[in-house]
Symmetry: C2
Subunit: 254 residues, 2 copies
């Protein structure tokens, strides 16, 4: 049985907590949060506290809070026999080096509290300062996910950066698409199957091979018609820059 405590009550903390609950080989012993209200959803299932001094040793203490708070909060912890890990993609493992035994347990997914998801499909990237602790983190990760990767701080930083492109920026393009539909009285939902298929293609084709559209085929007639259609200067700039970037990517190959 792996005993775990969780610091944090946000999206990542909540999804981790629910995933851990589903395993008979993991026991969540405590959840720590600053807000009594946020702790309410946990307290029927686990011991909760608002005070770090109440935190007891477990096998692994998971800090699932905002990036800027990881270091200061970790330095408040007086645990002696726990492995201390954070869950952040962009924070180096070394931010926890005040503790002899430290590591990272990074679930690479977009979490919303309101949206259920299958944690077994969530890639978990683990790193630890000591060999035994890496094994322990892998054991924990394998209990909740089928996709466990050993990833160092540098690799994790680049994964996090790539994730911003494929998630944050992609979602913003969906937003721009929905605004264009709204302005022209077309239901955005007509585009939903296209959005799903665009993502699905990546399972069998590289994005490079899946690329289509006017910029890819250098159809300058359509490109300039589209630019003329766009009234919002911000969206025009996005259209121009991404089209140029596509043209340059595939132009090199001619």
């Amino acid at each position: 049985m792996i005993k775990v405590s969780i610091i944090g009550t946000g999206n990542v903390a909540t999804h981790l907590f629910n995933a851990f609950l589903r395993s008979t080989e993991i026991e969540v012993v405590q959840v720590v949060g600053r807000s009594k209200k946020a702790l309410l959803t946990f307290e029927s299932q686990v011991q909760t506290t608002t005070s770090f001094t109440d935190l007891e040793d477990s096998h692994i203490c998971i800090i699932a809070i905002s990036d800027n708070s990881i270091k200061p909060v970790s330095e408040l912890l007086a645990l002696q026999n726990s492995l201390i890990v954070h869950t952040s993609g962009s924070t180096p493992m070394s931010e926890l080096s005040k503790h002899d035994r430290h590591g990272v347990f990074y679930p690479l997914q977009t979490f919303s509290k309101s949206k259920e998801l299958d944690f077994r499909e969530v890639p978990v990237c683990v790193e630890a300062s000591k060999k035994n602790d890496l094994a322990l983190l892998k054991e924990l990760a394998n209990l909740v996910s089928d996709k466990v990767y050993e990833i160092n701080t540098e690799q994790r930083k680049s994964l996090h950066l790539a994730a911003v492109f494929v998630n944050n920026f992609t979602n913003h393009l969906y937003h721009i698409g929905s605004e264009i539909c709204k302005e022209n009285n077309v239901p955005f939902q007509i585009l939903a199957p296209l959005i799903q298929e665009t993502a699905r293609k990546i399972k069998t084709l590289s994005p490079h091979d899946a690329q289509t559209g006017p910029a890819r085929r250098r159809d300058h007639n359509t490109l300039s018609n589209h630019l003329e259609q766009l009234k919002n200067p911000e969206y025009k700039a996005v259209y121009e820059l991404l089209s140029k970037s596509i043209e340059e990517t595939y132009g090199k190959e001619l």
Copy 2:
């Protein structure tokens, strides 16, 4: 029984042909293409020809060829009793106005010949110059798809533009993500579940509500770290512009 002829042998023509074959109430009578080689895949199932003068009247003649060729090809047709339609998102219906009965049958999806897809899930946008022909196109569309929309030329132009954002540009962001992974020796497939989930979220959340990430929360520390990490000036420019656009979108709401 609706009798249809198809001009074209590309992705759209092929997927339409296969969808029509599956219906017992549609008969494809002819496929016309310039290339004998491209016609080979059709000729065991339907009469094929390379000559427009061989084309016979059917109920609907579907021109599924590149945008620039639609008008010149349509003007070569000597059909008297057929409804003539094209399948293009960005081409006005009026390009076919040489023919009294004309319209548009636009399947809004990204097609690859090598990739099967469920045509019943493909939105089909129809438009016609005459009321009876609109009814005929709807009847045809309903035989192959569950998502049939009546969309005029202006609306279709804006849908096509929005599709470039959510498909072409999104796929290019996947490509940039994959390049970042490659440079740092991380398998791009770690990001695949995130890509799928980003698309899936749109089924239940608006893109606006689904937006997360450093630009959304104005985390300038992470933003400048990411910019420092990016060596490729093109990707840097994309990162800067999209982050700025996200900040402006959500900044207005503060």
